[in-house]
Symmetry: C2
Subunit: 479 residues, 2 copies
Amino acid sequence: MKYIVAFLLFTFAYCDDYLFTTKYIDIPLDHFSFTNNKTFKLRYLVNDSYYVVNHPIFFYTGNEGDISMFAQNTGFMFDLAEKFNSLIIFAEHRFYGETLPFGNESYSSPENLGYLSAQQALADFVYLIDDLQKQHLNSTELEKLPVIAFGGSYGGMLSAWLRMKYPYSVIGAIASSAPIWQFKGLTNCENFNKINTDVLKSLGSENCVNTIKKSWAILRSKTNSTDGKNNVSQQFNLCKDLQNSDDVETLLNWLSEIYTNVVMVNYPYPTDFLNPLPANPAREFCNRVDSINYKDDTGLIQALAAGVGLYTNYTGKVKCNDILQTATSSLGETGWNFQSCTDMIMPMCSTDDDMFENSKWNFQEFSDDCFKQFKVRPLNEEVPILEFGGKDIGTASNIVFSNGLLDPWSSGGVLRNISDTAVAVIIPDAAHHFDLRSENPSDPETVKFARKFHETHIKRWLHKFYLNGNHIYKFKQYE
Amino acid sequence: MKYIVAFLLFTFAYCDDYLFTTKYIDIPLDHFSFTNNKTFKLRYLVNDSYYVVNHPIFFYTGNEGDISMFAQNTGFMFDLAEKFNSLIIFAEHRFYGETLPFGNESYSSPENLGYLSAQQALADFVYLIDDLQKQHLNSTELEKLPVIAFGGSYGGMLSAWLRMKYPYSVIGAIASSAPIWQFKGLTNCENFNKINTDVLKSLGSENCVNTIKKSWAILRSKTNSTDGKNNVSQQFNLCKDLQNSDDVETLLNWLSEIYTNVVMVNYPYPTDFLNPLPANPAREFCNRVDSINYKDDTGLIQALAAGVGLYTNYTGKVKCNDILQTATSSLGETGWNFQSCTDMIMPMCSTDDDMFENSKWNFQEFSDDCFKQFKVRPLNEEVPILEFGGKDIGTASNIVFSNGLLDPWSSGGVLRNISDTAVAVIIPDAAHHFDLRSENPSDPETVKFARKFHETHIKRWLHKFYLNGNHIYKFKQYE
């Protein structure tokens, strides 16, 4: 927790918050066509408290949400920046957080929202990195500053792809929990939910998982009547009673996502990433579910609601639950749904082998839902593979793919080495991009090892970078 | 000339023409954003006369013109296809030839024409290659067919970039005379014209070059008056007399381009690429210029006009010269001018050391001209470097960059090895993408060597491809 001490020197600093200067850069709206010359302001956060001139830039490739949320949950970059005298940048992804190219109208039509895409975001980052290098380079020997990309989850996918598509922009990438293979034909659609279930069973209990599996039919049956809808609404403390079958679907999706999230963020100490949570929330969730020795269907729902309450209201300050939202509003769920409908099409399904309600992957239905919601359809399921290569990425270099085996997203992660320098590290007891968090006394040894692994590779990339340029004055520190 | 025999078997075959089936594929207009779901028909040419199932695809990445023009001037692919049992594809570049996404309206506004870009074209090729692989693969052992990209000039740039950006789409690229370094800061703006001049001096004569250098001031002075404009118009046999100073600029540009083209296509046997020309047209051009022992300015223009006549009317069938066009109308000059204004910004200038009228590179003026012509401006001069990396492309693999030293475009070419497998071959006595032409008795030894070099590398890529997949049944032939 060294950085806290450093930050206390800042005015307005308060405990466990990372401080940044907020900056903006004008970026072309469309990097790939020239039908218009619009630009927009992309927000990025800068921390130069460790920066020594001509040292590396650590660049976080922002994902689907307010960038400050990721900036507050990626302490690893700070721990490392101190060692490497690096500049820390967190770049916001277009159409999320405050980076809204069309302001309040950004989500109003496909004509605007259509500029939300992974490819455009990558080009944004290239553009910003170029600008940062020009701002911060001060050397007659170096042509540019070395930049390391960091990212978790979708941000990790972007980090890896940034290195693959624009290897001149970043000398390497740390791609944590980056499911770049969660696409058609690369992983089975049921894998995600199966892992989720297995993890909850092993961290929580078999009873907990069975309760969930049984609940779907019970909830559907109960909510058939108006009285039933009202009862279930009360049991889950919903802000607005369920009115119709669409609301019931929303409730079931909301519950599914909560069961997923509680596993994804199962860190061994209290955190506030998607929601404020205690240490080991998956276990705590099941403890609450299991604490109720239910006898009937109403009791079963009560048991579930107890678990859900841990996730939705650990602080005790939440008055009621909004089923349209499963996490902090900093997460751009609508934007992500749009991306899922265009270039980030990730087939998902459930079977008898997992705790979720059985469901098949039906591309046509999915496409119809997309059209209903956004007036766009995915062209086909293979778009992400045509764009990024699927498993045929043997030319990739200088990437570390890390995946925790307690993370359902490991289903689409890269769990083996791709080439000599694009390598994988598996973290048996880690949840979603745990390794990107700051050092903590509760860290498992395997997470510490993964962070060392990252550090070793970053040193190697930097060593080669400074050596290639004959900049011997500095590379020694990366040996 | 083996292929000619093969082609005589076709109905409608006639001498020295390569035959193709014309096909079309529906392609998304915008691969990178999702503001609309428009598609267009991309034309491509197929020759399967040598193809044996599960053998490689040779894929020409079309450049700025009608694809059949390139298909008729890239015989090397046919010579090689016979050896490798390959399928031959020539893919047309969007907005050229018949591939007009908005039909007659394609060039009418930036809203339409803006979709003309190198990045979109690359994605088109990826899309088509994926479709071709699905059409032609017939194996339980192979996951896909190996594809080799070929291209000359801008087409060669696209081949190289296709391999760099989408290495899963093509296993290697033959990038002939591809000036991927003809961008800001990568080569001096005067290099192109300097090489052009040196080559014409060495193949033609010092007198020829001096005559050209002297002509600019004379032409400007002569065309100051109406009588002078008429005289010059007659001397150059223009279809329409020069009317104003804009016309004079057009004439001077037209002349410059002719002096360039005659060097670019200086092949040692008669060809019909940009225009019908005799063998060694650069020498012939200067022979004509030098044949007139001029005494005054009118005589000097007469000497130049004699040279120009070789280029514009070698067949003797042209009635008059249109200064709005310097080559076959199959070349999409307007489209290329648009690309020069957006992502293919190539700074050019002339000095006392070359035969052209002195001119400085002035980005602002260039940008203003772009806006006047197309209602677009280049964002900045660095766009192509941000997109494709400039000289920082050390991660590139499986590319052969070939450059003839008689080719002015070698100014922006890759003349040294980039990595272990992205290598350069220099052809001392070759003009623009000479190596992509078919075998000919007049071929210099160095051109034959370059073709062998290509073949060796293609064999190596294929060997590795079939070996990696354990497809031992076939790789032996590539050892």
